[in-house]
Amino acid sequence: MNDRKHIGYIENGINLDHIPHGNAWYVMKILNLFNSHSQAGIGLNLPSKKLGSKDLIKIENRVLTQNEIDAISLFCTGSTLSIIKDFKVIDKFILELPKVVHDVIVCPNKRCVSHQHVSKFNTFVNRKDITIVKCHYCEKEFNIEDISQYKF
């Protein structure tokens, strides 16, 4: 109820809830919300029982491609994506860490061939529960926290 109070209802579109606090920015960049005509409601720093503090994004008249979902999931693992039609939730799922991310991460390895082509990263969670991204081309592994450049 609290979220609705802040951002309002969606008629047709998507509702992305329980975004880790601070990560809404990535979603906005990936979906290019700054340069689109889709109406969107953005909630930042909302109270959340599960996360303490969360972000939330609702977008009117927008569908997501699988590549977009994979890219978003990298920053929103555990978030809830609801598909809304006529004010009703017709589909709802929890975003999981994508196995492969296409052309989202800029490889931190300056000598990597991906800078001359597309980037592709495989992801996994290591034994210390850290999300690791591994470049498909140069085969180097990075802690996701150390990735600072993205292709959006």
Binding site: V113, S114, H117, Y137, E139
Partner: protein
């Protein structure tokens, strides 16, 4: 048709198949598998020994090579064409592509773009799978086996490319590893963890003298002085005649070459010097690889 990009693309059976066939070639097997085939040998950076070894392997198998030894001598680097287009064009002229390129991941990219099999002859600091295969073959051929070998690895274990690939492949063969390196040039935690989960035993040592008498093989890496704190420390990681006084009779020294001070020429005349034969083994391993590729239509 699948070539070879990374040692991680091979499993134990495939490695064994390549090593067995390499031995047959070393023992005199002659085949004309590449009769009528054109193999492009494209070296975007110079690496004379690897290139000649590959080209000799092609010729031994009855094939012909086209290509270049250094891309600065071609128009490829200068006309502003994308790397993807360059790879695509190269694949139009040959039945397989052997590629060396300074960028990490370039061989993987080439394999995705070309319709012909690609063999990685070194992509920057990343992979050089035929070097790893010839290293394994050299251990096997000098010792008669791979299982249970006590292998010392000395020098820069953190940055040396050949060491990482070798260690990745060693996990299949139950060797015992002795890492001889200063603390700051040891292998990374994750790599050590992977060794442990593969059941590989390893230990750390500060000098060759500590363990020389236990080893079957010593794999030496190029000693890059700037990575060592001072001269005294880097001196510790050189081989000398005194350090070989108590080694086992079957003991052999391996080195990917070219060498620097870590391996003085005085060692060449000892029965422990195996590195020149190791380089020659590269020819047999590359023949085996090309033979499997063109006989089976795939490496993996």
């Amino acid at each position: 048709m699948q070539g070879l990009i990374s040692i991680a693309d091979l499993d134990k059976n495939k490695i064994n198949e390549i090593l067995k066939l390499s031995k047959l070639f070393k023992d005199g097997l002659r085949k004309k598998t590449l009769d009528g085939k054109v193999i492009a040998s494209c070296f975007f950076e110079n690496s004379t020994r690897t290139r000649l070894s590959f080209e000799s392997a092609v010729v031994h198998l009855g094939g012909s090579t086209i290509g270049f030894a250094d891309s600065s001598a071609t128009s490829l680097a200068t006309k502003g064409e994308s790397l993807a287009d360059t790879f695509k064009i190269l694949s139009c002229y040959a039945d397989a592509l052997i590629i060396r390129h300074p960028l990490d991941g370039s061989a993987r990219l080439a394999s995705e773009i070309c319709d012909i099999p690609v063999i990685n002859a070194g992509d920057g600091a990343n992979q050089h799978p035929t070097q790893t295969l010839l290293d394994l073959f050299s251990i096997m051929d000098s010792q008669g086996r791979l299982e249970g070998i006590k292998l010392g690895i000395m020098g820069d274990l953190k940055f040396g490319r050949t060491v990482h690939s070798l260690v990745e492949a060693v996990k299949w063969f139950g060797m015992q590893l002795y890492f001889i390196a200063p603390k700051h040039l040891r292998m990374g935690d994750e790599e050590l963890f992977n060794l442990k989960t593969s059941g590989i035993q390893y230990s750390f040592h500060n000098s060759l003298d500590e363990v020389a008498h236990e080893l079957d093989c010593l794999y030496l890496t190029r000693l890059q002085k700037e990575r060592f704190v001072d001269e005294v420390i880097s001196d510790t990681y050189k081989v000398n005649l005194a350090s070989l006084a108590n080694v086992k009779p079957n003991f052999k020294i391996l080195h990917p070459l070219p060498r620097q001070e870590e391996l003085p020429v005085e060692i060449d005349n000892t029965p422990y010097a195996y590195y020149f034969e190791q380089a020659q083994n590269g020819l047999y391993v590359r023949q085996a690889l090309l033979d499997i590729l063109f006989t089976n239509g795939s490496i993996d």
